[in-house]
């Protein structure tokens, strides 16, 4: 007899896809569903040069010890990250009503925020875009938010933002609902609202009393400019919203496995900072006591050092440029082959998300016949495309489309 005999196996489709790829013995197999991670033109992970520099400095600093960080994290990191997101001229920063809580990357920032909103503020309803990152619902549900609703986002028909649908859904949301917004480079559509559309979204949310919870996982990957990609968050803050923003430094600093994140909290009264911090302290304490130091030290080092910050911006531009080039190459190759349809979506999308336009059964053919692995949604990560494989991929997509 076991306590565990009724436990069912939960299968994760991405993992299963990966296992299938792993077992595939075909010589030229290619996995394009590599998750949200950057690859260089050789198809390899890339540790940012600025990160290696920072890491070596940190390793050689004999003054550093391993004493527990404060529960809310390394202050020089959270202060810098918060100020960097909102801008040092941000009113919230100046008025000392914005602060950061160091988190185990963006996912955990979302969880901490959700747990606060449900346990401390008693919120129950949250909205996420259709589609959205697969973990949003799980993080919020496990954080205690009882009711998940979707707002329209992607239109299959127009291959673009369903803006009217989005506004309509927000307009009918109950007052106090939490709305998860992708600050930029929406995952998985790669399609962002324009600046004007953001203004309108903000207007509706203000009128309806909705609470914005931004997810900024890809800051720097939408435009190549780290600061420009903060537009939406800064717009809401300037308009006087209270908001949460889950920052991740996984992709833009390439620190994936060091779990560097920051939950930015913007309140509209500085007197509320202490009570709110104290409640977050309890939430963190009851989850993992205090956060890991290594990645936050590296990020802090870079954020607080002008020289290194500039190098960082360069490294991000390198990644952005390569991704942009691959989009161009892939689109070009497909158009040259005469693949039917409009391929402009590939170069219109921002961030890592890329659409093949293939249906689920066509994706299966792509896997079976060409050993090229994409998600059954037809989406894949543009970073998996290199100058060496772009033609192969284009030909395979063309073949599946036309056969």
């Amino acid at each position: 007899m076991s306590f565990f005999s009724e436990v069912k196996t939960h299968s994760i489709d991405v993992f299963e896809l990966f296992m299938r790829f792993h077992r595939d013995t075909h010589e030229n197999k290619l996995n394009l569903a590599i998750g949200v991670a950057y690859r260089d033109d050789s198809g390899l992970p890339w540790t940012l040069p600025v990160v290696r520099t920072a890491e070596q400095t940190v390793a050689e600093d004999e003054n550093l010890d391993n004493e527990y960080l404060p529960v809310l994290g390394l202050e020089e990191f959270t202060t810098a990250a918060t100020r960097w997101l909102l801008g040092s001229d941000s009113i919230a920063v100046v008025e000392k009503r914005a602060f950061g809580v160091q988190s185990i990357s963006g996912a955990n920032a979302l969880r901490l925020g959700a747990e606060f909103l449900s346990q401390v503020l008693g919120k129950t309803v949250f909205y996420y875009s259709n589609p959205t990152w697969r973990s949003h619902e799980l993080l919020f549900k496990n954080g205690g938010m009882a009711e998940a609703r979707q707002y329209r986002y992607w239109s299959e028909k127009t291959k673009n933002l369903d803006f009217d649908g989005l506004l309509e859904d927000l307009e009918s949301a109950p007052r106090g609902s939490v709305v998860i917004l992708h600050a930029c480079a929406q995952n998985p559509t790669g399609c962002d609202p324009t600046e004007d559309q953001w203004r309108r979204i903000a207007g509706v949310m203000r009128e309806k009393g909705l609470f914005p919870f931004f997810d900024t996982a890809l800051q720097g990957f939408a435009s190549g400019d780290l600061v420009r990609d903060a537009f939406a968050v800064r717009l809401f803050e300037r308009m006087g919203f209270e908001l949460f923003c889950a920052q991740s430094f996984s992709k833009n600093l390439g620190l994936y496995n060091e779990r560097v994140g920051n939950l930015v909290v913007v309140l509209n009264d500085p007197k509320l900072v202490d009570p709110v911090k104290s409640q977050f302290t309890l939430i963190v304490r009851g989850m993992y006591s205090n956060p890991p130091s290594h990645g936050a030290r590296i990020a802090s080092y870079i954020l607080n050092n002008t020289n290194l910050y500039d190098k960082w911006q360069d490294n991000v531009l390198t990644m952005f440029t390569r991704m942009k080039e691959m989009r161009g190459s892939l689109r070009g190759a497909l158009e040259q082959l005469g693949a039917p349809g409009d391929w402009s979506l590939i170069t219109r999308q921002v961030g890592m998300a890329c659409d093949t336009g293939l249906t689920e059964s066509q994706c299966e053919v792509l896997i079976e016949r060409h050993h090229i692995y994409v998600l059954k949604s037809g989406r894949f990560n543009i970073c998996a495309v290199t100058s060496a494989n772009v033609d192969l991929i284009a030909k395979a997509i063309y073949d599946v489309f036309t056969s």
Partner: protein, 405 residues
């Protein structure tokens, strides 16, 4: 108007508030006996030499990248950690029905374990010792347990274990309740059951079909011997129990802030490993996606390198010996002064902490008058004692007990 205007100021966490107070105190002879973090004889934090060596090696290893770890962590790390706890020849390992999950230190292991037990096994009741580490309750409550109950543990009167109360409370526990047990070096009392007492405890746990959840934060650190400090957990495994054990590498590796932990899971059927792993995977994905690499890589590097492993065992012996030495010195100093009471418990207890027996008023007096920072419960951390402050502390305790009896 703000969404947050009704948010109440939460209670401060005593041990951190204490450290803050101590840091801000300008009194020259102040002593911090609050937080359980190792200090050298000079009162300084100690980054283990093996850790520095591992860190430098890792920083220079160009083959390492920052790719996401698997959700359940670095396999080499969690296998080594589980092996270190259960012993290579453990029947559970030989039969492939035990595994480890990398977690955010011991707290993270407790939380992930608790959340799994509540969500997937529908468990609602947990038991914790009276007293216990102050965070146990919060972790299990936030993990989804509905009801926390105490089992008697510390006897004020005997300054030792209330084994009869302990066993009685377990006998009255509902079937299937989860019971938090300290693998060794009980926090905060430093008082552990004897081998024979553990046998009795195991019998009742078996009888009442309770689920043991061990907290092992001090393996190696308590006695200096990794095997000795794991004896209780190993005994339970040998007795055929399914169990969880939250392992922390904060103290024994001095890696406090890198959050290195492992949740060891022992099942009684190898076929259950896959489903259980898949559900724990979901719990973690819904909490922080996947764990941080740095600290776990360091531990893994050391555990898998025979040379460094031996150096590490030396480092552990250094730390535990210093603590044992400080216990001796404190007891001696107290006895020499003729301090009222029996102080044998100071050297009978094991690990970082000691329940001095001082009550709340006396403990506050220690802080206020003598600038010796300790918890209201009477708990002191031995790590804060050094050859240069132990006499001062003893005198402070003497003054306190003779003035405020």
């Amino acid at each position: 108007m703000s969404w947050f205007c009704d948010v109440e100021l939460g209670p401060p966490i005593e041990v951190f508030a204490l450290t803050k107070q101590c840091t801000e105190d300008t009194f020259e002879q102040k002593v911090n006996l609050g937080v359980g973090a190792y200090r050298t004889n000079e009162g300084k934090p100690w980054v283990l030499p093996v850790v520095r060596a591992a860190e430098k090696a890792l920083a220079n290893d160009e083959t390492l990248n920052k790719e996401y770890l698997p959700v359940l962590g670095i396999d080499a790390f969690s296998s080594a950690a589980t092996r270190m706890l259960l012993g290579e020849e453990s029947p559970a390992l030989v039969e492939n029905r035990a595994f480890g999950v990398q977690t955010l230190s011991g707290t993270g292991a407790l939380r992930v374990g608790a959340e799994f037990l509540a969500r997937n096994l529908g468990k609602t009741v947990f038991y914790y010792s009276s007293p216990t580490w102050e965070n146990h309750k919060l972790v299990f409550k936030n993990g989804g347990f509905l009801e926390g109950r105490e089992y008697r543990y510390w006897s004020e009167k005997t300054r030792g274990l209330d084994i009869d109360g302990f066993l009685e409370d377990l006998r009255n526990a509902p079937e299937g309740a989860v019971i938090i047990l300290h693998a060794c070096a009980h926090n905060p009392t430093g008082c552990d059951p004897t081998e024979e007492q553990w046998r009795q405890i195991a019998e009742v746990v078996k009888e009442r079909k309770l689920f043991p959840f061990f907290d092992s934060a001090y393996q190696g650190f308590a006695s200096g011997d990794l095997i000795k400090d794991a004896a209780t957990v190993r005994y339970f495994v040998q007795q055929g129990f399914e169990l969880f054990c939250a392992q922390s590498f904060a103290k024994n590796f001095g890696l406090y802030n890198e959050r290195v932990g492992n949740l060891t899971v022992v099942l009684n059927n190898a076929e259950l490993v896959a489903p259980v792993k898949s559900q724990i995977t979901l719990v973690i994905r819904g909490m922080y996606s996947n764990p941080p690499s740095h600290g776990a890589r360091i531990v893994s590097y050391v555990l898998s390198n025979p040379d460094l492993y031996n150096q590490w065992r030396d480092n552990i012996r250094t730390m535990s010996s210093r603590i044992i030495e400080m216990r001796k010195k404190l007891r001696e100093a107290l006895e020499v002064l003729g301090t009222p009471g029996d102080w044998t418990h100071i050297t009978n207890q094991i690990g970082m902490f000691s329940y001095t027996g001082l009550n709340e008023i006396q403990s506050l007096h220690m802080v206020k008058k003598h600038h010796v920072y300790m918890l209201r419960s009477g708990r002191i951390s031995m790590c804060g004692l050094t050859p240069s402050n132990v006499d001062y502390v003893a005198k402070a305790i003497y003054e306190t007990l003779t003035t405020l009896s």
